[in-house]
Amino acid sequence: MVEPDPDTWEDALTRRLRTLLRTAPLHQLEASKRQRGEAFAHQDLRALGLRALDLAIEHKGLGHGASFEELCVELEPLVRDVDPELSPERALEIAAVTLEALLNESGRRQAFREPYLALTPERVTHKLLEFHLLRERQLPDGSTIIEPTTQAINLYAGMLEYEVEDAQAAEEAVLRSQVRRGRIEDAVRTAKRARLRSIEYEQKLVTFLETTRRDIGQVNWVETALGIIDEAREHISERLEVEREILAAIETRRELEGTTNSTTSPKAGAQLAALEDTLNECLTRHAKLHQRLIRANADYLVEHDRQAFRPQLATPLPDLEAEVLSDALELPTLALAQLADELLARCQAPRCPPSLRLGALIERLLNPRRVEVGDYETWAPELEEVETPPPVFDDEDRRRVAELLAELRGRQRLSELLARARGRGYPPQSLRLLVLELLSAFDPEAANAPVEVELSDEWLDDPTFRGDELIVRELAHG
């Protein structure tokens, strides 16, 4: 590995400072331990954080990410190794705290921001380093996965000072020489680092392409982007070539070992196989990236057409918290209340207006109840004709309801009235009568309603009745 040649000590220092700053979230996480209670005392949250990055990178390398919950489950054994006394639930909680810290959940998932002093031979300036470590990506099926950012891969690999392209070429040169000299054990280690580089490079390039795709105005396509894409294509072609060469060298070595030493140790065989697998994975990733780069220009043109439709915002977006919410809080209540409808319409998704087809509703209500006919014998009760059916509610029911409503003072909920009636042991039909009496107050033609009734926004909380909660009030006098 070649140390990048620093032009001046100021450049080198600034670069190293930026490297150091990217570890800040891990140190802050560790420092927050004291406020988090006893269960965290024995844990090394920096180690846990790095392991979380490692796992996220590993899953990304395998081509499918892991969800927040899956990563917590994978981190849990490490937490419990440190403190076997912990319950699995508590251990998962600690894992979740670690992941949340790397997502910057407490900063509401904004970029980590670290101010620093940038030195040049001419002057000293205050700058801000902004970066993410983990991000949560939505998948088409509605689930989400956690992904490492380029900076996170860099941080984990401990290679922040090197350009990923240089690091990749260097790793491969080392790998080639190790394979040639038969140092397979070392080669396996180097290949793993090369694999990390290939994931990092993929992340870097995909982020660039996606940023461009999202907002074509951000990048000058002809002057900047095409140049970057050409370089990337060349870089990847080289990688593919070198990786194929190394694979061929591994094959040669395998044949060589097979002819010169018929008793190749199983360990060496396994190492060669692992080396081959890792390199094949890199090769596949690079081949896919190559395809994507070939399509990049066509994708850009489609996107260009698409975005031409969208009017570009002439005014920069506001900081919602500082410039809108805060100002709104200072408005008089009435003035802000008058904006409520527009704010709702703008902040919420569209609502399909419900349409009631009266004809269909009436038809459905008038339909006779459907009788289920089973092919089993049904028991037919012996029926007797009566002249007038007995009333559903008797005088006693009416008396009970009247008594309940007469006792009403101020406002009460229907659920409370029902609970009181049950407490007095009233039979179910009395409760039903109470509900019907109250509902009849909504009849526009009803006269002499004993109480005033209005709809509440809540659901009725009752074991027997379902529907809206009602607010019952005694009649206003006068």
Partner: protein, 243 residues
Amino acid sequence: MADAQQLAQDAAKLLRFGLQPKLRPANEADYGVLLRRYDAELELRGFVHMIADGLGLVVLGVTELGLVLGAEPDGPFALTLADYRRSGLSVEARMCHGLIQLLIAAYCFPSAASLEDATHIAGTRVCVNRLVEHLVNLAREFERRANEDPELGTKELREAWRAVLSMAQTRGTTDGRSAANTLSGMTLHALKQLERGGLMRKLGDQDGGSFQALGAYRLQVRELAALPAFRLVRDARAREERG
């Protein structure tokens, strides 16, 4: 090339899918096909935008989970307070419902940079308790800075933050449910509505109800809410200052 009638039908169908936020292109083959065509066919895209425009809808963009539509505030698809809360509301309650929309948007995307993030990135996790606490803390900050109590006669004229502080005193019902007219009840109502609209996903019932902002919510706030809300509030302040 498909004729205009067919294009109009396909465009309307795509809008129909977009108006059903729980429908995913991954689960509905036709939806997926139409979205890919929307991406690739300039003509179809033109039809989708024109029909949406005629209906009072705005095509905000596309995420992995489907087409994201917004409503023109004066169109039939706009959510109004009357749909949002069925019973009559006091001026204070109306104010709070509007304020809570701003609170949630500002909590999820506090800075312009967080609104600029890519739409495939899921947003922050929010819960009712934390949101209400955040709002009350902001109001307390105003209280700390206010050096006098102007003793304004009516509730309608006092500043919103004073109303928030007095509402913060109201507790939920004894059985633990949030009463509809407390800050918690209103916040939960807003989050549930966002979830129904496909802008949030529900994570659980802990902390008063936990949700996660989706990329679609970022699109909605960025494309439809942020700037107009900024202007609405700024203009209202200017009117107040002129008296």
